[in-house]
């Protein structure tokens, strides 16, 4: 796949100026440096992978290119000429387009309208009407380039997420972009959709388009990028052709220390499951909700980390929502230490349940509220003094400070800062911290490390272990089988709303788990 073009490599003398180059870029916020003399470039017709932990400075680099921020010093160049954008208009004019993790499409408008929102072809005669036919033709032309076979008049709300991603790229092509920045484009895509995206990226490469690809999926980065740039704490700590890197080397460069293991060792090793029949912490018996889950039964012991594997839509998140009382179930029973569990989330929190949702931005956090407020949210009631339920603010402050330090939320973050401004890893730590403060006995984690870098992941795993060691039961839902294998004592597999497999530690086998998740039954 690689090498179908022969662009200059970083070693040779470059005859053509790079599509974009960062020359000793520095940027700080409130005296804290975020970028330190960053120097690298991306060539036309090559895919440059940009990797680094959350908070390493990737987003800041993107914001500089997009004109949302201006560097303190240093020079940006596009195709060799100086480039000092003051807003998204300048970026567009310079042929730079962004494909963000969160899509910037308008589901209420048609595909064609999304593609040409600011460049509608006008009808002849000076009237302000849109020339519908020309619009459709041009849209079809762009759709062909990204292999989307839809009618241009289809509303975008009918497209699955993967195709919306391709549509974003089509929009960039329509804007005559020669430099495409893709920021974590694969997080919400299925395997097949990812393959389609990479396929398109390879084709764009042959057309001479420069791409900067940001991702935490290091395997993808190594497979599909030509050059790599590794950022750590605002510094470029490594760059060169992708062939010179291995996953291990990338991780150690990103983290700045050798990470021999991606998963921490469980210090008091898990008690053998068959030692003696213990009272299960959580006892789920025959939970059924039509259309969601069918006849789910399992037990969760104190101190156990139980994984739930399965494909998207297998009913894992639905099960978690039912357990936490967010959704109803038609039949079956949930018991906690022998007592039936009833009521909504409020009562279940009081029973010691905690639920870290898969969608941390929308369900897990109040984005505009401060770090401290978010941390204190779940346990506010405990800090309310009787009889007037006055809040014990100093008490909350101490508790928040304790958990924040324990979680090692980046020191660049202040308690008063809105959570919206934090990196993904730090946001997830805040969600986790919020629940840790309530000292849950049963913690349900839905995709706890999605979109989170290696270092922060490790810390989250450590916290999961610590909680389990204290006797809490943990239910971890993850789409990464490796993560479940590395973390869990036992793994349940779900398929089409039913349990389709159970694997105790020692019998973990990637292929078998995947087979149990995939096995297509038509019954």
């Amino acid at each position: 796949m690689k090498g179908d073009t022969t662009p200059p490599t970083s070693g040779g003398r470059e005859t053509r100026p790079p599509a974009v180059s960062f020359e000793d870029i520095e940027k700080g916020f409130f005296g804290v440096p975020v970028l330190k003399r960053v120097r690298f470039s991306a060539q036309a017709g090559r895919i440059t992978g940009l990797v680094g932990e959350n908070g390493a400075g990737k987003s800041t680099l993107m914001n500089l290119l997009g004109g949302n921020l201006q560097p303190d010093s240093g020079q940006l160049r596009v195709n060799g000429s100086p480039y000092a954008p003051r807003g998204s208009g300048d970026a567009r004019a310079a042929g730079i387009a962004f494909v963000h993790q969160e899509l910037n499409l308008f589901p209420n408008l048609s595909i064609a309208e999304n593609l040409f929102l600011t460049e509608f072809p006008r009808a002849a005669g000076g009237l302000p009407w849109i020339d519908r036919r020309k619009l459709r033709d041009r849209a079809r032309h762009l759709l062909d380039q990204v292999d989307l076979a839809h009618d241009p008049d289809t509303p975008v709300e009918r497209l699955p997420p993967g195709e919306r991603q391709l549509l974003e790229i089509a929009r960039a092509l329509g804007a005559q972009a020669h430099l495409l920045l893709l920021d974590e484009p694969t997080t919400s895509l299925s395997v097949r959709e990812c393959a389609r995206l990479f396929d398109l990226m390879h084709r764009l490469r042959t057309r001479g388009i420069a791409m900067v690809y940001i991702s935490h999926a290091l395997g993808d980065v190594l497979n599909h990028c030509d050059d790599l740039v590794i950022l750590r704490d605002g510094e470029v700590v490594g760059r060169g052709p992708a062939a010179e890197f291995t996953q291990e080397r990338l991780v150690s460069l990103m983290v700045g220390r050798e990470l021999n293991q991606l998963y921490p060792v469980r210090t008091p090793p898990p008690v053998p499951a068959d030692s003696r029949p213990r009272e299960p912490l959580l006892d789920v018996r025959g939970i059924t909700q039509p259309g969601r889950v069918r006849d789910i039964s399992f037990r969760l012991a104190p101190g156990e980390i139980l994984g739930v594997a399965g494909l998207m839509g297998a009913g894992r998140s639905e099960l978690a929502r039912i357990l936490f009382g967010l959704d109803p179930h038609a039949s079956g029973e949930i018991r906690v230490e022998g007592r039936p569990l009833e009521g909504g989330p409020r009562r279940r929190i009081r029973e010691g349940l905690a639920f870290l949702t898969e969608d941390r931005r929308h369900e897990g956090l109040c984005l505009e509220a401060s770090v401290a407020d978010n941390l204190a949210l779940v346990t506010l009631g405990q800090h309310a003094r009787t009889p007037v339920r006055w809040l014990d603010l100093p008490g909350i402050g101490t508790a928040v400070a304790r958990i924040r330090d324990a979680l090692q939320v980046s020191t660049r973050v202040t308690d008063a800062q809105p959570v919206r401004t934090l990196s993904g890893g730090n946001q997830q730590k805040v969600v986790l911290g919020k629940w840790l403060l309530s000292e849950p006995r049963i913690l349900i984690l839905d995709e706890p490390t999605r979109g989170i870098d290696v270092g922060a992941r490790f810390e989250i795993y450590q916290w999961i272990h610590r909680l389990a060691d204290r006797g809490s039961g943990i239910l971890v839902i993850s789409s990464e089988i490796e993560e479940l294998i590395g973390l869990c004592d036992r793994i349940l597999v779900m398929r089409q709303g039913e349990l389709s497999g159970e694997f105790p530690r020692g019998e973990f086998n990637r292929e078998q788990i995947l087979a149990a998740a995939l096995h297509t039954s038509t019954s």
Binding site: S88, N104, F106, P107, N108, L109, E113, E318
Partner: protein
């Protein structure tokens, strides 16, 4: 995401809710009184709906951007007060109506300024404008009713090709608005902005002029609607234009425009919404319903409108 998709017919019913409601209301009142479904009364309903339709059309644009304009009735009142004073001072009726439109432009312009430059919440900014406008109007009229020269009433009752003048104006406004909304870049950008303002900004839409234009358009429509009402009434009372903000917002929302922005249509939606409102109150008058019932009916209408909006927002794919 975890919510099951509603069955197809529920979605279709929600899509067609304005039509269904109109049919239901017409059929209902028709059964209760044989004086309701007469050509005369239906024409009367349409005539009464003409001014609200015009005001609601402007309101639809504002609502599509997830904003709101509570000042439309007050703008109508100030415009009518100034036009009335001018008419009584002997100015030509055309000049009076032109002055009214200028007031609408100015009112919309101030709203636009408050929302886009000072970044005030539209709800509060236009609420303030409502009180300012009402106060200003009362000061201009000295809280006295003014009877205008007959020319106004002649215009209001004039027929062109057998169709009353106010309906021509309303029809033209609706047609132009619908074309703007569906056929011009501006219209499509309004929908885009209402759906996802930040994405619109990132896509290169000039969002501030766009938002400003929407409020100015709304002010202009309010003044035009006021002008039509003026020619129909022939007088300016201290209560001129009162409750028009309610009529306009309810008509638009009943017609399927979302308070959350990004979804809605002038035709048939807003038009049907306005007709629906006037049909209900016409029916109540014909049935000689207890006047104390009216506020309750109004409450039910608001409730139904907002409930429909909420159902649409949560049940239809986003």
């Amino acid at each position: 995401m975890t919510r099951p998709l509603p069955s197809r017919w529920i979605r279709r019913a929600l899509d067609q809710a304005p039509v269904l409601l109109v049919v239901l209301v017409l059929a209902g009142f028709g059964r209760m009184s044989d004086r309701f479904l007469t050509p005369d009364n239906l024409t009367q309903i349409l005539l009464q709906a003409a001014a609200p339709v015009i005001v609601a059309t402007g309101m639809t644009f504002v609502l599509l951007t997830a904003g709101v304009d509570l000042s439309v009735g007050a703008v109508m009142f100030v415009g009518a007060a100034i036009a009335g004073k001018m008419a009584l001072a002997g100015y030509a009726p055309t000049l009076c109506l032109a002055a009214m439109l200028a007031v609408g432009l100015a009112g919309g312009g101030i709203n636009a300024l408050l929302v886009t430059r000072l970044r005030l919440a539209a709800f509060i900014a236009t609420l303030a404008m409502l009180f300012i406008g009402r106060g200003l109007g009362r000061w201009i009229t000295q809280t006295r009713a003014m009877n205008l020269p007959d020319t106004f009433l002649h215009w209001g009752s004039a027929n062109v090709l057998g169709i009353p003048g106010p309906l021509w104006v309303a029809g033209a406004v609706v047609l132009i608005a619908q074309l703007i909304l569906s056929r011009t870049p501006f219209g499509r950008q309004v929908l885009a902005f209402g759906n996802h303002p930040e994405a619109a900004r990132r896509a290169g839409v000039r969002t501030r002029p766009l938002q400003a234009a929407v409020y100015i358009l709304c002010g202009l429509c309010a003044a035009l609607g006021g002008g039509v009402a003026l020619t129909q009434l022939g007088s300016v009372s201290p209560r001129f234009g009162e409750q028009y903000e309610f009529d306009a917002i309810t008509a638009a929302v009943l017609g399927g425009t979302s308070l959350f922005g990004g979804r809605g249509r002038v035709f048939p939606g807003t038009v049907l919404g306005a007709i629906l409102l006037k049909a209900i109150f016409s029916g109540l008058v014909i049935l000689q319903a207890d006047p104390y019932l009216y506020p309750l009916i109004t409450a039910v209408i608001i409730f139904v409108a907002v409930l429909l909006d909420s159902l649409r927002t949560h049940l239809l794919p986003a």
